[in-house]
């Protein structure tokens, strides 16, 4: 099963590699990983998406908690939660007809065109994973030059929060 794991950790050199190293050393998989400092600059929040049986995920969480730099861990799969990912797509629009069609698709998906050149449009899109996948599929007839995805971030609904 797919799990979104939120990790609050010390914002220190090496902390990220301890988390990443744990996954490679123990043979756990990382589907995506995203990390940035929080409102408290001494803490970073990392969101990691992994897959595994309940036993494996339980072990992953225990092992993460064992890392000295890790302050708290939350398996969002256990809570009602919201998940979002951000994507940039650069599309080739060298035919005139393409400009209009790409703009229309972007609007349908509530995307923003954030850069335009003679031959390219760059679209910014936010949503859950399946929406981003659907947009990439919808662009099928156009030539995609680049796709950049942030990896998922998640937050629990309501009062549940991950705080130090």
């Amino acid at each position: 099963m797919r799990h979104v794991i939120s990790i609050l950790m010390e914002n220190e050199a090496g902390a990220l590699s301890r988390v990443a190293g744990l996954f490679s050393a123990r043979g756990y998989n990382i589907e995506s990983l995203t990390v940035a400092p929080t409102e408290d600059p001494t803490l970073s929040r990392l969101t990691l998406v992994t897959r595994g049986s309940d036993e494996i995920v339980e072990q992953i969480i225990k092992q993460l908690n064992k890392l000295i730099d890790v302050v708290k861990v939350l398996d969002l799969a256990q809570y009602s939660h919201i998940e979002r990912e951000m994507m940039f797509v650069k599309v080739s629009v060298d035919k005139n007809s393409a400009c209009e069609a790409v703009k229309r698709l972007s609007d349908i998906f509530r995307g923003n065109i954030i850069d335009v050149s003679e031959k390219t449009y760059t679209i910014e899109l936010t949503g859950d994973r399946s929406k981003l996948d659907a947009f990439v599929n919808a662009l099928g007839e156009f030539r995609i030059i680049e796709v950049v995805r942030s990896g998922s971030m998640g937050i629990a609904r309501g009062e549940t929060a991950l705080r130090a």
């Binding site: 301890r18 190293g21 036993e55 000295i68």
Partner: protein, 566 residues
């Protein structure tokens, strides 16, 4: 007053009460060595001959005393040579603080002379590590390192100190206490879980206690012994747990696992309640996990939550310090009236005694034939009254030592369990001898293992460490050969040692006493003679039977009830 980083280093060791450290100097740590030189009456530095040995010596010191061992090595090769020892300490949960020198900060990342990213290299095999980038953080970092290494599940902590940090000055202040928001190990077990565990224990028909190194590390030997006697249950111990419960006690059914006793492994297999205490269900213990304890509920007491239900699903987990949990458990037990049903237990003991009758450790020593390794260990046990410190290397001799030396006290059996590091024995014995100068410290080794850290004979001479080396010399890498005999149709690939040195002459060249013993009749006399030389290192080279196997054995992939007896 302002101190340099190097001076702060020494002050911190004094604050931590560190008396002995093990190390080897080099460019990046010269300022530290200079500061140590000026306070050599305060901190005793032992100069080893290879950094790996410094770490093993510190491990021996730590395993015998339950205090953190301290290591100081230089950058680059000094640090990488220490990695095997660090990984060893990590696997066996040995509290260590390892200091490595690093190139000056402006050179970090420049592929400077003797530069390695030791923090990166050791990340997967330390409990935690630090790179100190500011002298103002040095004292706090050292405080944290000792705290992390010695609390919770102990382990090695590494501190990498760039050379320029050792010359910078700042005000010295050593924190008395330290709190870390991200590190608060649980020590007290959950009361409700302890009661649940006791409920199961009082109802069990075929209970068995399975205890490991955690009991030794936690200093819970007394509590374990009390609890075991109070309950009347059979107890088996892992390789790392030996000595926590007296081996001569009739409730002890021997070590379990791959080379455990027939009765211990069968007790596990037939048990309806396994009480695991400070043990981690290692693959050498469980055998085939699919066939492990098929009828048992499992209670697991461990300080490391990640050890619980890692390999085997546990019914009653209790996270906490073993000593604390056992104290609470004893108190709870003593407050209750009921005790395990004596008739159930009698029935269970009858079954166990049946397995005992297989006499799985039996061997014969033909007094006209070659010396059998088992015989040497058994004689050593006799002549030392089971009270010596026994440090071991890795291989057949290690198993024989575990099987035939009956430990009655904890912290006396010092070996490399998890990582299985050949070369561990001699340096770890140095560490133990330094911690206990008056005690008998022995090193049971083989002709293969001893050569992996043989250079430490020089260290033993320099510090007059009267370790007694018992080399069970069979001319083979015995355990490798045994597996080749069993599983590779006797194709002895690279397991025979041609051109062994003359260990007697070699020991003499280092300034020690060497003995060669070739006849079974001479074994006891030689041991007594060597042990009588209180102030000398004696290297006893026992020429033993070449193709001798460790029995009994649970072959890889088999269950506990599928042992090979002979």
């Amino acid at each position: 007053m302002e101190l340099t980083g190097a001076e702060i280093f020494v002050e911190c060791l004094k604050e931590e009460g560190v008396e002995t450290i093990f190390g080897y100097p080099g460019g990046a740590v010269l300022f530290i060595y200079d500061a140590l030189y000026q306070q050599q009456d305060k901190v005793n530095h032992i100069l080893v001959r290879h950094e790996q040995a410094a770490v093993h010596a510190a491990e021996g010191y730590a395993k015998a005393t339950n205090k953190p061992g301290v290591v100081l090595v230089t950058s680059g090769p000094g640090a990488t040579n220490a990695v095997t020892g660090i990984a060893d300490a990590y696997m066996d949960s040995v509290p260590l603080v390892v200091f490595t020198g690093q190139v000056p900060r402006p050179l970090i990342g420049n592929d400077a002379f003797q530069e390695v990213d030791i923090v990166g290299i050791t990340r997967p095999c330390v409990k935690h590590n630090f790179l100190v980038t500011d002298v103002k953080e040095l004292a706090t970092t050292i405080k944290k390192a000792f705290y992390i290494a010695s609390t919770g599940r102990p382990g090695p902590v590494l501190i990498d100190i760039p050379k320029d940090v050792t010359t910078m000055r700042c005000e010295f202040h050593y924190p008395k206490e330290i709190t870390m928001r991200s590190y608060n190990p649980t020590t007290k077990g959950n009361k409700r879980q302890i009661r649940r565990a006791l409920d199961l224990m009082l109802e069990a028909k075929r209970p068995v206690l399975y205890t490991g190194g955690g009991v030794v590390l936690s200093g819970a030997s007394h509590e374990l012994t009390e609890l075991t006697r109070e309950l009347g249950f059979p107890i088996t111990q892992t390789l790392m747990g030996l000595g926590a419960f007296p081996s001569m006690d009739k409730q002890f059914v021997g070590m379990l696992g791959m080379h455990g006793t027939y009765e211990a492994n069968h007790s596990m297999h037939e048990s309806d309640l396994v009480i695991a205490i400070g043990a981690r269900f290692d693959d050498r213990v469980t055998g085939n996990i699919e066939k492990f304890c098929p009828y048992a509920k499992i209670i697991h007491i461990d300080i490391d939550p990640a050890s619980i239900s890692k390999n085997v699903k546990v019914d009653v987990p209790i996270v906490g310090d073993v000593k604390q949990v056992l104290t609470d458990m004893l108190e709870e037990l003593r407050s209750r009236k009921e005790r395990p049903d004596p008739s159930n237990l009698a029935e269970w003991w009858k079954q166990i005694d049946g397995w005992r009758n297989a006499d799985c450790m039996k061997y014969t020593q033909d007094m006209t034939g070659p010396i059998r390794a088992q015989y040497v260990v058994e004689k050593l046990w006799e002549v030392t009254n089971g009270d010596a410190y026994v440090c071991s290397d890795v291989g057949q001799h290690q198993m024989w030592a575990a099987q035939y030396y009956k430990f009655n006290k904890p912290n006396r059996w010092i070996n490399s369990g998890g990582l299985g590091t050949m070369g561990f024995g001699l340096p770890s014995a140095m560490g133990v001898q330094l911690a206990f100068p008056e005690e008998t410290v022995t090193c049971i080794t083989g002709d293969g293992s001893i050569q992996m850290c043989i250079q430490e004979l020089a260290t033993c001479m320099q510090y007059r460490l009267p370790v007694k080396i018992i080399c069970l010399n069979n001319g083979y890498l015995g355990m490798v050969r045994q597996w080749q005999e069993f599983f590779y149709q006797k194709r002895y690939a690279m397991s025979y040692m041609d051109s062994l040195p003359d260990f007697v002459k070699l020991s003499e060249a280092y300034g020690h006493v060497g003995m060669r013993i070739e006849n079974p009749g001479d074994v006891e006399g030689a041991l007594k003679e060597a042990l009588a030389m209180k102030d000398r290192l004696v290297f006893m080279d026992f020429i033993t039977q070449q193709e001798n196997n460790v029995y009994p054995m649970v072959p890889a992939g088999a269950g506990h009830n599928e042992m090979i007896l002979v």
